[in-house]
Every structure is written in C-alpha cells, then in structure tokens.
Symmetry: C2
Subunit: 235 residues, 2 copies
DNA sequence: CCCAAAAACTGATGTATATCAGTTTTGATA
DNA sequence: TATCAAAACTGATATACATCAGTTTTTGGG
C-alpha cells in the first residue's frame, strides 16, 4: 500500500533530509563555517511570519510546526518538520519575508546557517542547486496534496490523514515494532486538521471506540493503521 | 495598498514569467532546440494527474487551470496560469508523476520543451537554476497563502479573493483604463473558491447589488476593486 | 436566425461542523 | 506529593454552506 502522492508524507530520498549529502567536504566546510546550534523549549518561536530571514535552519531533534495565523489569532498548521529537515530557506531564495511562522512543538535542537553561506555554496555547486530544486518540487507535491485534502475531505477524513502524517513524523529514532506515541495537544491537532478542538476530541473518542487508536493522557498511539487509512477514505 | 503576501497574486519579477530572460543566446538555443507549439481549444487537457511528464510547457496566450479531482469527480482548482507562465516542471525536477491536471479554460497557445533540453540547460547554467529556485520559492509563498485562505476564510471571502486573483490573470494584454472581463464558468469559479456553484451565483448577486461588479452574460466585470478587497476582509 | 443543450439562476430543505457554557482531568511546579 | 492552572472533555445550540428540485437564460452549432 503506497500512501505517497495521496497523503502528504515525505520519503527520505525526495526531501530536504538528504540535500546536504551531495556536498563535497570543501563545500560542507563552507556551508557550516558559521553554523550555530540552538536549543529550543516547547513553545519557542523560531521565526515569525512577515519578518526578514537571516539564514536557514536544520532540525536536529524534536518537532517544529509551521503555521499561519488568521485575524482572530487561530493557527492553521501547514507543515510539521522533524529531525533532518531543512526549514526557512524559501524566503532566503526568493528575497521575500517569511510567509509563515515556526514554533517548537517539543524540546528541539536546530542548526542555524547564515543566508550568505547558504547562497554561496548554492551558487558554487550546481549539483546542490539541482538537488534543492528536486526537494522543493517534491515539497510542492506535498503542499498541492494538502490543498486538496483541506478543500475536498470531510472533518473525520482530515483528522485521520493528520494522524497518519503525524505518526510518520514521530516515528524517528524508534525501532520498527515499537509503539509510536504522538505527542500533540488537541488544539494543535485541530489546527492541523482544520477543525474545532471540541470536535477533534469527539472524533478521537469515536476512533478509540472503533479500535483505531488509544490515548494515554495527551499522547495518542495508533493501534491499527489499516483501519485509520480506511477512515481517511483512501482507495 | 499592497495585496502581495496577503492574496496569492504573482508579481512579474518573482514568477516564472521572467526565468528565461537570464539565459544567454546559446543557452536559449539549446533550450528551444526541440520546442514545439500547440494550439489548444477550451476544455483540452494539457496533462493529467498521475501521468509521467515528458517535458515542460510555456503558456503563450490564454488561461490554463491546474486542479485536482476528488473521488466524486469534483475539481479543486489550485492555480490559474496565464501568458508567460511556465507549467509542469515540478514533476520533471522531482522525477515524480504529475500531482495535478491542467486544462485550457479558453483557446490557448503553449510551447512544449522536452525535459532533456530543460534539464540540460539547468545543469549548465547555475544562474538559471538559482532563478528557478527563486521562482519556485515565490510559488511556495503563493501556495502557502492559498492553504490559509481555503482553511481560514469564509465562503464570501474566498469568492472575493478568487475574483481578485482572476482579475489579475485576465488583465494581460489590456490597456490600464480598459474594463477587465473575467471569462469563467460559475462552476470553475465555485471550484476555485471551494463553494457550491449555486452559492457562487447567489453571492455574485449580492456583490452585484453592492456595486462591486456587474455581469454580462457569463462574463464578470469588477466595478470597484476597493469594495471587493473590503469584501475579502483585508485590513 | 432558430433551436436544443448547457449553463445560469431560484427557493426550500438538510447537515456537518462551529460555538457556547459548562465539568473533569492532567501534568507541571513548588 | 499537594496544588492549581491549563488542557481535555461533554452536551446543547447555532449556523454556514451543501444539496435537491426545479425554472429561466444563454450560447454556439446548423
């Protein structure tokens, strides 16, 4: 069963995970010349919509939400980034301001690379530029899928899809047969699925009754991925 | 009043409009070596979701809708491309299949460039690659905005925003003080705003009564852009 | 210029999901 | 380990928008 192309799930070989692997030692040295590490606590803002970028971020550990805030202060989560993913390079490349904000969903480590070093290596290595184009094109597929999910799926389907995506994001570092605890607030889940938090809670109750998942306090553990995919109405 | 960043409107200097201008004469020759022209009639499909791309398209004249179809056959229009815009290069760059379909909304001329020539010039010219990265990054801003529009705005707001975007797309080739007739079916408009066609019709009636627009048969002409922007709830 | 088919339009009704107003549970902190 | 504020949860009600079942208008081919 291939979920790729249907659900906005990333595969290693397409994403920003592996973009840095095409660099030579010299190029890597150039890129990481002024690299700094940052430890972020849950809720810390990494960048904010409308501000000017000064560099790019590489997630080392933890999970980061990317979102836009509407007039009433409600967040729409656009993407969840995990370990190995590059963040915040779009506005550096286009010379625009951040189109969205990024906040740590849990304790998180990120590396910061000044935009000058990023652009320097990018203009020296056409292999790196092509690799970035590939990664961005794949991200496009993911975003395009997100649009059709938000516009065309029902509430329960969107929640099921959000849980499938989150399960992948929280898989990192766990052995294959280990349970994957999805550690997310009901509000964040609601802002990801485009639902009211109250309805997310009601639907999680239904999913639990159907044997799809179980909850341990705020943590969600998927018991039956097949049933969940069915709930997402995937054919 | 700057709509950019709020509404998914393209500006010439960011989009694929001008990407080809960075090429040298020799590079342009390489790119257009096997270029072919195609005349398309209203309703003709240019590429279809799930198929393998063999090249990229440059819109010469007309308007093209990019959309995804759900299980019930309903279209969600993701983007409308006009003259000067490059199309269908994402799956060429990522090595994936088309994530969406493209259909001519009116009589349209497109140029086709085989993927081999596109990739050849891309790997030879790092300036071109950087220019493509810039254009794609901007497209990202546009798509990100689309997501928040679809998820966070009300029906009337989404319709107003769709009309603002369409007005820009249909501006091409007209003098500044000329009226811009938006030639689009109510169904396409509904699929763009994520509404039922019946409600689009009702809302267009309201907008007409408010003096925002007038209709000539199927054509829509915006009378007061300021009122329309207000209806879109832009501060 | 006519004609049939498609698109535009209208009003009545249905429903998914938000909102509101609470109570209960959880987990961080002291 | 006791505390309490925040988060999770529950039920009642409201509403935006879709759906359905028509009628009228438009449009493009013959």
């Amino acid at each position: 069963m291939s979920l790729n192309g249907i659900f906005p799930i990333d595969r290693w070989n397409f994403t920003t995970h592996s973009v840095l692997s095409v660099l030579s030692e010299e190029e890597t040295a150039r890129l990481t010349r002024h690299l700094t590490e940052q430890h972020l606590f849950k809720g810390d803002v990494i960048f904010r919509e409308g501000t000017v970028p000064s560099g790019i971020f590489l997630v080392r550990s933890g999970r980061v939400k990317k979102y836009k805030v509407d007039q009433l202060g409600k967040e729409q989560i656009i993407y969840v980034a995990g370990p190995g993913e590059l963040m915040g390079y779009h506005p550096v490349l286009s010379g625009e301001r951040y189109a969205d904000s990024a906040t740590a969903m849990e304790d998180t480590m990120v590396s910061f690379i000044p935009k000058e070093d990023f652009m320097d290596v990018l203009s020296r290595s056409s292999v790196f530029a092509l690799r970035m184009l590939k990664a961005m094109s794949h991200e496009f597929t993911v975003l395009t899928n997100s649009i059709s999910v938000i516009a065309q799926r029902t509430g329960p389907e969107r929640l099921a899809i959000a849980l499938i995506v989150l399960r992948e994001k929280f898989k990192y570092g766990l052995s294959d047969n280990e349970a994957i605890p999805i550690n997310i607030s009901r509000t964040d889940l609601a802002n990801m699925a485009g639902l009211a938090a109250e309805n997310v809670i009601r639907l999680l109750g239904e999913f639990k009754a159907e044997g799809i998942l179980l909850t341990e306090g705020r943590k969600i553990i998927i018991r039956d991925v097949h049933l969940l995919v069915k709930r997402a109405n995937y054919r």
